[in-house]
Symmetry: C2
């Protein structure tokens, strides 16, 4: 446990909410105490996009975000003759700005703590009904608020349900594409360089928000910094981090470390080895599965990173120290001890129970084969459809049943060889983990080797055929029961084995959620609001410093430059994903190659922060968040800043590229990016 000014507990990071800015901590750490007006200006200059963050950066509605947050719009704006993902896009005139379907920008107007009204709406003591009552109270609250204020109102929970607030947004729905670089320039280095630094990505896109058909004129927007991010300076990131797990107990972290993540990593490895075998078949196959391989490698990299903090004894010791402090504070007060004293042990017990049948939960079911999954869906449809809604497995409750039916009635292309290989790998892994004589293995293998069983089932089934599926679904439970399709037979045998484990896990997870909420309430009782709540895709302000860090025996610089972009491409002889687009090859001599392109800082970010502006003390844009380094992945659970860094596009790099490469000096002017280099 590391503490700082204003009672800051470092391991909890710096994702502060705007209704509880840590003024004393900032004052103590940086000698900086922003005024309410500064905070309001910054909040109103921020914008939330679907899944991403952004900011208003001109008086005429210009909005800056990441290229990877704008892909759907860039694709939608493309025409049969022009692929803007490939070529980039620059509107030459206002009329050329292209409307993005389904895009919106939310501006946060106000926040109000409504924990009390939400809690008092829950009057029942029946646990199942409590959730229902709370959810209807939330829905009602949001509707009333929306009607009364004309704003988009969202009730958000913090501290795992320990606190509720309403966030009121102004929503702008006329969002148009102004400028986007080529996808290759935005994502230079592709999946291999993803989550890493040094980086060389111009991951930026500009939108413009319109109101009543005209660019929105606004007072609150971020001005552009003349110098951009400089080493050692204090910077803030304003954005919407999606999800963290810093309030998890040691028992929960250990479960992730020892049960969840190892299984997930093994699954990625299995899938990768199958895909690599497929890729080796032919050049066409290689191209077909290449992106799947990259994407799985990336997931493997991310989960390995999350887990790294959990296996780091030094990091976990800090977490353990915090938990001891937390428990001691609760134990000291008899009233608190009575309410919360057992919550850690309760959680530990439940996690242990989950762990006791984790092997069954992992393997029992319809995974490992698309065809088994389809067969299992049909068996479950017949079985669950016959039950009253409340008695069904959660996936089949309410509209769930219909969703599953629709999926089954869709055409699903199945690569039989891939399915056979994947299924074989799954069954081999299951055979290693499940005890000999296990009923699931008996049901699927029936004495055969995994390879033979997978081959017989995959080759023998008609579950991949839409007409067959339609017939079985229309025939209902009787048709499914009568089928002698080998995969349907296997699924029929698997289903009753699986059900009790699924039910037991669902009950335990619901109980764990209840305990987590109690823990969230305990946090207030023990620390007040001095600990920032876990990320919930709500607007936060995180402080940090632009700073180099030790890497690989030497030092990673605080910034990269255009020189480095050309260097990394040349190092790989221009091979993808380190290839340069024609525009960058041709424009090289126009650039000042010493211009900074990316930089790192110690701000606390996570997925959802993509597109967040990085600002200095004067509220000016010095950069644009687009990633974290690989050392920052463990921050999901425990924040550190020795080597963990956020990675941003440097404001000066944006201006230089706009002017010299994209012939878009007018955007640079509109940004007020006066510096010419």
């Amino acid at each position: 446990m590391t503490t700082g000014p204003g009672g800051w507990v470092k391991e909890f990071g710096t994702m502060w909410t705007f209704d509880a800015p840590p003024l004393d901590y900032w004052q103590g750490a940086y000698g900086f105490r922003p005024t309410p007006a500064w905070l309001e200006h910054v909040r109103l200059s921020a914008a939330r996009l679907p899944g991403c963050s952004a900011s208003f950066v001109s008086a005429n509605g210009l909005v800056m975000t990441n290229h990877h947050c704008a892909r759907s719009c860039i694709t939608a704006a493309s025409t049969p003759d022009s692929n803007y993902q490939e070529t980039g896009f620059v509107a030459r005139r206002r009329e050329d700005e292209k409307r993005c379907p389904n895009m919106y920008a939310d501006q946060l107007q106000s926040i109000e703590d409504i924990t009390q009204p939400i809690r008092s709406a829950v009057t029942t003591t029946a646990p199942g009904r409590q959730v229902e009552q709370r959810d209807s109270a939330i829905t009602a609250f949001q509707e009333t608020c929306g009607r009364e204020t004309g704003l988009m109102c969202q009730v958000v929970s913090f501290y795992q349900g320990g606190m509720y607030s309403v966030y009121r947004f102004r929503r702008f729905t006329d969002v148009r594409l102004v400028m986007a670089p080529e996808g290759q320039t935005a994502f230079f280095g592709g999946d291999p360089d993803n989550f890493t630094y040094p980086r060389y990505d111009l991951d930026v896109t500009f939108f413009r928000v319109y109101e009543n058909g005209a660019p929105r004129v606004a007072d609150h927007y971020l001005k552009w910094s003349a110098a951009g991010a400089r080493e050692g300076e204090l910077v803030f990131v304003i954005g919407n981090p999606g999800s963290t797990g810093r309030l998890l107990t040691m028992a929960q972290m250990e479960y992730l470390r020892d049960v969840t993540y190892p299984a997930q990593l093994a699954g990625y490895q299995r899938a990768l080895s199958v895909l690599r075998r497929i890729a080796a078949r032919s050049e066409a196959d290689r191209r077909r599965v290449e992106n799947q391989i990259f994407s799985l490698e990336n997931s493997h990299k991310a989960v390995t990173g999350y887990r790294r903090g959990l296996v780091d004894q030094e990091i976990m010791a800090k977490k353990a120290a915090f938990e001891r402090d937390f428990r001691a504070r609760i134990a000291r007060d008899p009233a608190l001890a009575a309410r919360f004293g057992t919550v850690w042990d309760d959680i530990a017990r439940m996690q242990a129970e989950l762990a006791s049948f984790a092997v069954q939960s992992r393997w029992y079911g319809f995974g490992g084969s698309q065809l088994l999954n389809l067969a299992g869906g049909m068996v479950r449809m017949a079985e669950q459809g016959a039950l009253p809604d409340a008695e069904r497995l959660s996936q089949y409750r309410g509209p769930g049943l219909e969703r599953v039916r629709a999926q089954l009635l869709r055409e699903v292309p199945v690569d039989l060889e891939a399915d056979r290989l994947t299924f074989t790998a799954q069954l081999e892994a299951a055979s290693k983990e499940l005890p000999a004589g296990d009923p699931y293995l008996a049901a699927v293998l029936g004495g055969r080797t995994p390879e033979a069983a997978a081959r017989a089932l995959v080759d023998g089934t008609r579950a991949g055929d839409l007409t067959t599926r339609r017939g079985l679904i229309e025939g209902g439970a009787a048709a499914v029961a009568a089928s002698n399709d080998p995969m349907i037979v296997a699924a029929r045998n698997i289903a009753p084995l699986t059900t009790p484990y699924v039910k037991r896990a669902e009950a335990l997870n619901a109980a764990l959620a209840g305990k987590a909420e109690l823990l969230g309430q305990a946090i207030f009782a023990a620390y007040g609001k001095s600990l920032p709540p876990d990320a919930t895709f709500t607007l936060r302000i995180s402080d940090g410093t632009v700073r180099r860090y030790p890497m690989n025996g030497t030092v990673a610089p605080y910034r990269t430059t255009f020189y480095g972009l050309y260097a990394r491409s040349a190092e790989f002889e221009g091979q993808a994903p380190w290839n340069l687009t024609p525009r960058w090859v041709a424009g090289r001599d126009k650039l000042d190659l010493t211009t900074p392109l990316n930089f790192v800082s110690t701000n606390d970010i996570i997925g959802g922060n993509s597109g967040s502006p990085v600002i200095n003390r004067d509220g000016e844009v010095v950069g644009l968040i687009f990633d974290g380094n690989i050392e920052s992945l463990p921050n999901r659970f425990i924040f550190t800043d020795d080597v963990a860094r956020s990675v941003s596009v440097h404001s000066a790099g944006i201006i230089e590229a706009l002017r010299k490469i994209y012939d878009a000096g007018w955007i640079a002017e509109e940004l007020g990016g006066g510096q010419t280099r």
Copy 2:
């Protein structure tokens, strides 16, 4: 244990001797089987310099090595008006080539196994006498060989003394400086980037060997490759690796891991914390100790790297598997078992005994303070000088006593504050490790705190004063015994405590050397010559591949380029040690920035290999070894090539720099570096 073609055991690496080239392994691994003529040509093209490697690279005696191997010559060639270390040096005409004092180049003419004659020269069974007999046989052999052949003959032991060979060299003593870049260009990135990659160092220097006042004309020299190193190609490194410990037993490696290295690292940390305190005093102090700090950080980095392999369970499991295999081979044959069967357990027992008093060995003595060291020297001089030579501690035997006396009679500048701080840190660390009531602590501390004791001793002694020392030495044992200088008193009390431990350690280490020699003999018996012997600064040929590697979540490229040099400098805004020299700033636009500068390969190298040429199948120069990456440091004990890489200057980068930056196109022509870019 990982085995390959021709019985290759990967963990032992690829430092092959020229009298036992692994032709079957090369054939199997690469489909390449060099002819005897190829091997002879390559051997005769190689040159050994003091502590370094080199190669003949032109018909007129041009020799290529590293800049860091040529520093003494570059400094000696400098004049009061010209500092070539700073400015670089290019001879414009033959007459400008500058003779290097004390430099020579040895060319290996022949190798002969003389294990038998050396062994039969040892006729006594008294262990102490055996070493003496062997050493005189070696000296005699070298002298006779030198007289008979006119060559410089060196008897070298391999396999820890399991084998002896004579290496016969032609020695060239007229070596002149032709071209050297600036030190900053050769060592760009300085200590922080040392042992790391990606790198951007033009670490090259050209000498010319003269005979009878004229450039040496030779048939055997390496031609220059037109393309230079390419990704994926087979390359060989020809050079003189200094020392490895791959034949050490598990018990010896564990001793290094658990005893030697942790103590060494703690010592560096102590020294660093003292130096950092001194550096914080003033800017002048900072500058004064800056290089010491860098150098210690580098040592810390190196030892951490060596140890990394020893704490890596996967790497150690391979070593353990080899040891099991080795022991099983010996155990299978009763005759071998009788000779060698107990050697591993014997070694383990001796290491355990050394470990049992490692704490005393570490702290008892005159370390931690320059002044205590001087006082200890005077006490030992008096005491050891009075003994017959054979009864002295080894340091004081033969010419040792005179050496110590000379040191004591030299002026030694002592920074009193630094000495006090260092001594305090030493005593604090000793107090933590030694038991309460330990006699050494009692003798030095006398009940005081470490800080108080260090202050009293350092401030109270006159041992720093040369006149005082001279007086004591001239006064002999009586004067030392009568002194009431507090540091002399402390040293007098420490000496008798220390002696028994020193003697015990010396005896154990001598016995260990004997066991190590047995182990070396056992290696032959079990594996023949299929395992290359440990490095002994003799000529080796190592095979490898030019290859990228996984690093930090992404990929380290197989090469860097001039772009990268300018990039890394710009990333640090030109701060030292990433500053560019004026010549490189001015010459930028003349360069093809995509020219490769450094590259990596999987060849097996270690200190001593500096300056080794990297050649392709055609025997052409494609690069010049100058370092290993940080991941290669564990290779000292167990060779791996997943991420361990040798780092070389690329041949094309040398040519480009000669032509465009150093105005030395004539050297490029002489090298036959025909490619213009």
